[in-house]
C-alpha cells in the first residue's frame, strides 16, 4: 500500500516539475521580450500625443464648416477595433479585453476589426461581421501594416459602412497592472477651448482639406501606439502569470515532497515493525 502511493506521489512530483520548467521558461522569455516591447511602446507615444493635439486644434479651427471625420451622424453601426493577444497563458489579459468589448457593444449592431489571433478566433466563433482577419500577428507589427488598417477604417467610415469607430486595447500602467481602455477614434471630438485665441492658424489648403489628408495617417499612428501598448501589456501579464504559476508549482512540489518523505518513513517503520515482530517469535 505504502509502496504504490509513494510511486504515485513521485509521478506527480515529476509532472509538476516538468510543468514548472515550462512556466519558468515562458517567464524568462516574457521577461526578455518585455524590455523591447516597452521600448517600442515608449517610442510610439509622442506621435500619438502630438498628432492628436494637432488634429483637435484643426477640427476646432473649422468650427461651423463641414469636416470630414468629425460629422456626428446618427450611429447605426459601430466598428470596434479589438486589440488582443496572439497567444493565451497571459492571465486575464485576453478575457479582460473581450469582457470590455461585450460591455461596450451590448445591444447595438456592430462589426469588428480584430487584431491578434485570439481576437480573430473569438469573433469568428461568435459570428460577428469582420472587416478583415489578416492581422493575427501583434508582436513587431509594422507601421505600414497600421496604415493599411487605418485606410480600411477611414474608407469604411466615409462609405457609410459604420458611423463610429471604437478602439479597445490594453494600456500598460506598470509591470503589475494593465488597464483595458475604450477610445473613440471616429468621429473626432473637437478640443474644448479653454480661452479664445487671438490669432487663428493659417491652413494651407483649408483646415477641412488638410484634415481629410492627414487623418488616415494619424489614425495609423494611433493604432500603432495602441498595439505597441497592448503588446507590452500582454507580455507583462504573461510574465506575472507565469511567475505566479512557477511559484505555485514550487509550493506544490514542496508539499508533495513532504508527503513523499512521510510515506517513505511510514513504509520503513512498517518494515522494521514487521522484522522485529518476526524475530520475537
Amino acid at each position: 500500500m505504502a509502496g504504490s502511493s509513494m510511486k504515485d506521489i513521485k509521478l506527480r512530483i515529476k509532472s509538476v516539475e516538468s510543468t514548472m520548467q515550462i512556466t519558468k521558461a515562458m517567464q524568462l522569455v516574457a521577461t526578455s521580450k518585455l524590455r523591447r516591447a516597452k521600448e517600442r511602446m515608449e517610442a510610439s507615444k509622442p506621435y500619438a500625443a502630438i498628432s492628436e493635439a494637432a488634429i483637435r486644434a484643426a477640427v476646432r479651427s473649422c468650427a461651423g464648416e463641414e469636416v470630414p471625420f468629425a460629422d456626428h451622424r446618427e450611429v447605426k453601426n459601430t466598428c470596434v477595433v479589438v486589440v488582443a493577444g496572439e497567444r493565451g497563458l497571459a492571465g486575464g489579459y485576453n478575457n479582460n479585453v473581450f469582457k470590455r468589448v461585450a460591455q461596450e457593444t451590448e445591444g447595438k449592431p456592430w462589426c469588428v476589426l480584430p487584431i491578434g489571433r485570439k481576437a480573430i478566433e473569438k469573433y469568428q466563433r461568435l459570428g460577428i461581421p469582420m472587416l478583415n482577419a489578416d492581422h493575427g500577428h501583434v508582436e513587431g507589427i509594422s507601421v505600414s501594416e497600421c496604415y493599411r488598417l487605418a485606410k480600411m477604417l477611414t474608407d469604411g467610415y466615409l462609405a457609410g459602412q459604420f458611423d463610429e469607430v471604437l478602439l479597445i486595447y490594453t494600456n500598460f500602467q506598470n509591470m503589475l497592472s494593465q488597464e483595458v481602455r475604450a477610445d473613440r477614434l471616429l468621429p473626432i471630438e473637437p478640443e474644448q477651448e479653454e480661452k479664445p485665441r487671438l490669432v487663428s492658424t493659417v491652413y494651407e489648403p483649408e483646415a477641412s482639406e488638410t484634415l481629410a489628408a492627414v487623418i488616415p495617417d494619424f489614425l495609423a499612428g494611433r493604432l500603432y501606439s495602441a498595439i505597441c501598448d497592448s503588446y507590452a501589456s500582454e507580455v507583462s501579464a504573461r510574465r506575472t502569470a507565469m511567475d505566479s504559476a512557477t511559484k505555485n508549482a514550487g509550493e506544490m512540489i514542496d508539499s508533495l515532497s513532504l508527503k513523499y518523505n512521510r510515506a517513505r518513513q511510514g513504509a520503513i517503520t512498517q518494515e522494521i515493525t514487521e522484522i522485529v515482530a518476526g524475530a520475537e517469535h
Binding site: 506621435y47 498628432s51 497600421c146 494651407e204 492627414v214
Partner: protein, 133 residues
C-alpha cells in the same frame, strides 16, 4: 540667429526634439521654409527632401514623407509618416527602388489604379536619393 523649438516625430519614434534655426520642408503646395516666430500655420506634407539647420548652425538633410507640419506659438512640429536622416538612407536600395518604380510606370497607363501607387513609390525613392546625396 533666433531659434525655435522643433519636434520631428514619426509613428515609431521621436526623431528630433530640440532647438533649430530653420527647417525646409515640402508640403502639398510646394517647398516652405519655417524660421523663428512664424505665424501659426498648418499644412499637409508631401514627399520630398527636408533640410534642418540646428541651433549651432549645422545643417542636416533628410527624406520626409507625408504627415502634417504644424506651427503654433513658435513651436514647430513635423508630424511625418517617415523621416529618415541622410546618413541613415541606403542609397543603393533607394536607387534600385527608383528604377523598379520607373519600369513599372512605363508599363502602366495613367488610368490604372496602380499608377498613383507606383508614382508615389517613385517620388519616395527620388526623395531618398536626393536627400542621401
Amino acid at each position: 540667429m533666433a531659434t525655435f523649438h522643433l519636434q520631428i516625430v514619426t509613428p515609431d519614434r521621436m526623431v528630433y526634439d530640440g532647438e533649430a534655426q530653420s527647417v525646409i520642408l515640402r508640403t502639398v503646395n510646394g517647398d516652405i521654409c519655417i524660421l523663428a516666430n512664424h505665424i501659426d500655420y498648418a499644412a499637409p506634407l508631401g514627399i520630398g527632401e527636408a533640410k534642418v539647420i540646428f541651433a549651432d548652425g549645422k545643417e542636416r538633410s533628410a527624406a520626409c514623407n507625408g504627415g502634417l507640419l504644424s506651427v503654433e506659438n513658435n513651436e514647430v512640429r513635423v508630424i511625418a509618416t517617415t523621416f529618415e536622416w541622410a546618413e541613415d538612407i541606403d542609397i543603393e536600395r533607394a536607387k534600385r527602388a527608383q528604377q523598379a518604380a520607373e519600369e513599372q510606370l512605363q508599363k502602366l497607363s495613367r488610368q490604372d489604379v496602380d499608377y498613383a501607387v507606383a508614382e508615389a513609390k517613385l517620388k519616395r525613392a527620388l526623395a531618398r536619393v536626393q536627400a542621401g546625396k
